[in-house]
């Protein structure tokens, strides 16, 4: 090689390093420019925040970083970069939009089975006054832009859902005639019999919106506009957002501090966009994430870890015997009941007898998910008294291969191979598929496992072009109503787009019962109990779905910086989930308010 060449070589090498620095520099410029409009107002805030963090400045230049000891890092909820803070865009909004910024009238506490008044101040049950519902709106609450939150905002929110089909809560208020604000109360009137159950759900699931801002949004866009400058009543305001994370800043004058004594001890909450399981685990164990709502396979191996490399202890909600995790939703084996042999009840019962939920949950989740009960209703509903144990003991088809073979013999099954679908890349479900395949093989049912893309799977289920599929039902709830709606809803159309009754099971009497349950005043518990018992009995006898296991409310907390995480044993018995539908509807915010710094600063 000639000398000139080697000089070239050196130049190349410096060149490549320079290219790396340069492109990364551009990356940083791009990333920072991607922060939301809110950043203009808040970057100074976070800059001032960093001055309190002694270690984060270097070389005299002030670095925009969050002081570690005053920041709670969460993860496990966001599957994409935070770009949307519209609480009505339920498929899209950034973690924290509902709960940290927008709040509901009530929080539902599945553990104690009670409604905690939130933006409403009166007890939930006391609202039903004849055929009307009267909401007393808590006074003295302000939107984060300084405007007062009033009964008018509540009435506006209800009426918006009532009049605009794009509002995701429109079904909840289908029976509402009008909502009228007067002073600090809102009176909701109904067209005929109130849809008690669905409207009750509205009270704790739906966010209250600021009328002065929402009324200027075009009607067609109320559920899709990005709302990059969210104005809410919640404990935090939006700080910054970029591809990797969204950061919120604690509001010093959150109404609940004065009214209920709740306050966040952290100054910032940063929710990090999900990565792969292993990366989440790495971030969690490295102390970069404090609160993780990821499903982390094998995480129970670290349950006993005291100290570890970075001096952490992992906390779970439950104990080992409780499978560590709170049960969050039910996973079913869903038979297509319009196809033979799944249209034969004996075949469906054979499936139920052949499958061993305990073994499946153990094989797939290795101890961090609980096997499902025969009705599939979550343990919180069971402890709330919704599961009729005598019905269960009388009718349930529990694991018994001998009975499975007997039932199979009368099912008209002729040995054909049936497909079992689960979305490609859902690794735990894909494992479950093979376990189910083996268990069914053992009683003589042949299964072919297929893994379509999740869109394709949705299309298959919508249109009823499948044999067997894995599916899960909506999560923690205050009543079994939505569970049974999901099972029994009629009529069945060519496309079951709303994802109800995907198994296409037709039982008019059961659907009538479900509809009837919705119109019964929640105080009439005996009538409700009898309806739900019947629905459970029919479920067990007809086996339209075969419940397999409960997905956990996956939660693990690292105690390096924050302690007193929600736990079934401590004083913080709240829902440990930042997921949409949990945070901002259930007691997650109360759980967050109980966190205390690990080290007194």
């Amino acid at each position: 090689m000639t000398p000139t060449r080697s000089r070239n070589g050196r130049r190349w090498r410096y060149g490549t390093a320079a290219v790396a620095v340069l492109t990364l520099g551009v990356a940083s410029a791009c990333s920072s420019s991607s922060s939301t409009p809110a950043a203009s107002g808040s970057s100074s805030a976070s800059a001032s925040g960093s001055t309190s963090a002694s270690g984060s400045t270097s070389g005299g230049s002030s670095t925009l970083s969050f002081p570690r000891s005053e920041t709670l890092y969460t993860s496990g909820t966001a599957y994409g970069p935070p770009v949307n803070w519209n609480p009505l865009d339920t498929g899209n909004f950034a973690t924290g939009t509902q709960g940290l910024i927008y709040e509901p009238l009530y929080l539902y506490d599945p553990i104690k089975n009670q409604y905690d008044p939130w933006l409403a101040s009166s007890a939930e049950a006391s609202g039903w006054q004849g055929g009307k519902y009267v909401i007393t709106v808590r006074s003295g609450i302000k939107w984060s832009d300084g405007q007062p939150m009033t009964a008018a905002d509540v009435a506006y929110s209800i009426n918006l859902a009532r009049t605009n089909a794009a509002d995701p809560y429109s079904a909840n208020v289908a029976s509402v005639a009008n909502a009228v604000a007067s002073g600090n109360t809102v009176t909701v009137t109904f067209k005929g019999t109130p849809g008690y159950t669905e409207f009750t759900d509205y009270l704790w699931k739906a966010p209250v919106l600021p009328e002065h801002i929402w009324k200027s949004i075009p009607a067609s866009q109320i559920a899709t506009t990005a709302n990059k400058n969210p104005v809410g009543t919640g404990p935090m305001t939006l700080d910054t957002a970029n591809q990797q994370e969204v950061a919120y800043q604690t509001k010093p004058d959150w109404w609940a501090t004065a009214a209920l004594g709740y306050s966040f001890k952290f100054k910032y909450l940063v929710d990090v966009v999900n990565g792969s399981n292993s990366q989440e685990l790495g971030q969690l164990t490295a102390g970069n994430i404090d609160w993780s709502n990821n499903y982390l396979p094998g995480v129970n191996m670290l349950a006993g870890a005291q100290g570890g490399n970075s001096g952490y202890t992992l906390k779970f909600y439950g104990t080992a015997s409780q499978h560590y995790m709170l049960s969050g939703n039910t996973v079913w084996l869903e038979p297509n009941t319009t196809k033979a042999p799944m249209n034969n009840v004996n075949f469906r019962r054979a499936l139920a007898y052949a499958l061993n939920p305990t073994a499946i949950a153990q094989a797939v989740y290795d101890g961090i998910a609980s096997p499902a009960g025969p009705t599939g209703l979550l343990p919180t509903l069971q402890s709330a008294g919704y599961v009729n144990s005598s019905v269960v003991s009388q009718y349930a088809a529990t694991y018994d291969p001998a009975k499975a073979k007997a039932a199979l013999a009368q099912s008209g099954y002729t040995g054909q191979t049936l497909t079992l679908e689960a979305p490609q890349g859902w690794s735990d479900w894909n494992t479950a598929q093979t376990v189910i395949q083996q268990e069914l093989k053992a009683v003589g049912i042949n299964i072919n496992v297929i893994e379509p893309s999740s869109n394709q799977r949705t299309a298959d289920l919508d249109s009823g072009k499948y044999d067997l599929a894995l599916d899960n039902n909506a999560g923690l709830d205050s009543t079994p109503w939505s569970y049974f709606q999901r099972v029994y809803q009629l009529p069945i159309s060519a496309q079951q787009n709303a994802q109800m009754n995907w198994e296409r099971y037709t039982s008019t009497s059961d659907w009538n019962l479900v509809q009837q349950a919705a119109t019964i005043n929640p105080s009439n518990t005996s009538q409700l109990d009898s309806i739900y018992s019947t629905l459970e009995k029919d479920f067990l006898q007809q086996q339209p779905e075969i419940p397999l296991w409960y997905n956990g409310v996956w939660f693990q907390g690292n105690t390096q910086y924050w302690t007193n995480y929600p736990s079934s044993t401590g004083g913080n018995q709240n829902i440990p989930a930042m997921w949409a539908g949990y945070l901002g509807s259930m007691t997650s915010v109360i759980g967050l308010a109980q966190l205390t710094p690990a080290k007194a600063s």
Binding site: A363, Q424, S453
Partner: protein
């Protein structure tokens, strides 16, 4: 000889050398000469020996497994007498998975190489033989295919397919890697076309197909052989990437799939080394052995390259 393209790299396995074979067209050397140098070429003996052992493992290994590859047993077992290579989080026996994965890798390698070789040779021969606009067209197609990023294409196609077979994966790999073979074969055919014996065959009225098969192909046999070996190795590597991304054949166990599972199961953080180190080592050995044998063979076919 203005096209140095013929000396370009195989996909994935970079330019492991298939510099244009200069011995092409030289009178075929004696077979026992190849054998003599072949047996004395350390690289060839080592590479082929290692490959042979791995092929045997792929053939016999699964029969010795105590468990099915997708049979759940006790999770998280360390390697030992019960589970030779331990078990993963789900309780899959890693020995069984690895040996079955090995089988699938070879299958994919063979399929990918076969598809690429058939398409590449056919087009390369046609382009080199016919020349003119046919050549221009084939070259154009070749260059276009080269510029379409295949993994991204597979991602796009694969994400719409509900189930993919091994045949699909092999065919896809073959159909995206053939341009490399086609270029090389074209250049060689071009240079052989003008040889006297080819002229003679042409003048004597033989059909082009038979000239290509009987006169040209045998003269680049060693070259084609080397090319196929490289394709074999690169197909296995490409398949590992696809499987790692979850785009591999559904319902089967492959080495890339095992790595995908290990990644999903946080094997790194739990320090479950037996979950991912053996598959990586085995696949690396499979491909490295092929590459080493390839260079050895090249030295045998091409006396100039032998060690001095």
């Amino acid at each position: 000889m203005s096209e140095s393209i013929s000396e370009a790299a195989a996909p994935e396995v970079a330019a492991v050398g298939l510099p244009s074979v200069r011995g092409v067209g030289a009178a075929p050397r004696k077979r026992n000469d190849f054998l003599y140098y072949g047996l004395r070429n350390k690289k060839l003996v080592f590479g082929l020996g290692l490959e042979l052992i791995l092929v045997l493992v792929a053939l016999i290994g699964p029969m010795l497994a105590k468990y099915q590859p997708l049979q759940t047993t006790l999770p998280l077992q360390h390697p030992g007498s019960q589970h030779w290579l331990g078990t993963d989080l789900t309780g899959y026996d890693m020995y069984s998975q690895l040996t079955n994965g090995l089988r699938e890798s070879y299958l994919i390698g063979a399929l990918g190489a076969a598809f690429a070789a058939v398409v590449g040779m056919a087009l390369g021969f046609i382009a080199g033989w016919r020349g003119g606009w046919v050549d221009e067209l084939v070259q154009m197609i070749t260059n276009v295919i080269v510029m379409i990023p295949s993994l991204v294409l597979l991602v796009v196609i694969g994400s719409y397919l509900s189930s993919r077979s091994i045949l699909f994966e092999g065919a896809f790999i073959g159909l995206t890697t053939w341009p490399w073979v086609a270029r090389a074969v074209r250049a060689q055919t071009f240079s052989l076309r003008g040889r006297e014996y080819v002229e003679l065959a042409r003048l004597s009225g033989k059909r082009p197909v038979s000239i290509i098969l009987k006169e040209i192909a045998p003269n680049m046999a060693s070259y084609l052989f080397l090319a196929v070996i490289l394709l074999f190795g690169s197909s296995m590597l490409i398949a590992a990437s696809y499987d790692f991304l979850g785009l591999g054949p559904s319902g089967t166990v492959s080495i890339g799939w095992i790595l995908n599972q290990a990644e999903n199961g946080s094997a790194l953080l739990y320090h479950l080394w037996w979950w991912f180190v053996p598959p990586v080592a085995v696949l690396t050995a499979m491909v490295a052995a092929l590459l080493i044998a390839n260079v050895g063979l090249d030295e045998v076919f091409n006396p100039k390259l032998r060690e001095q």
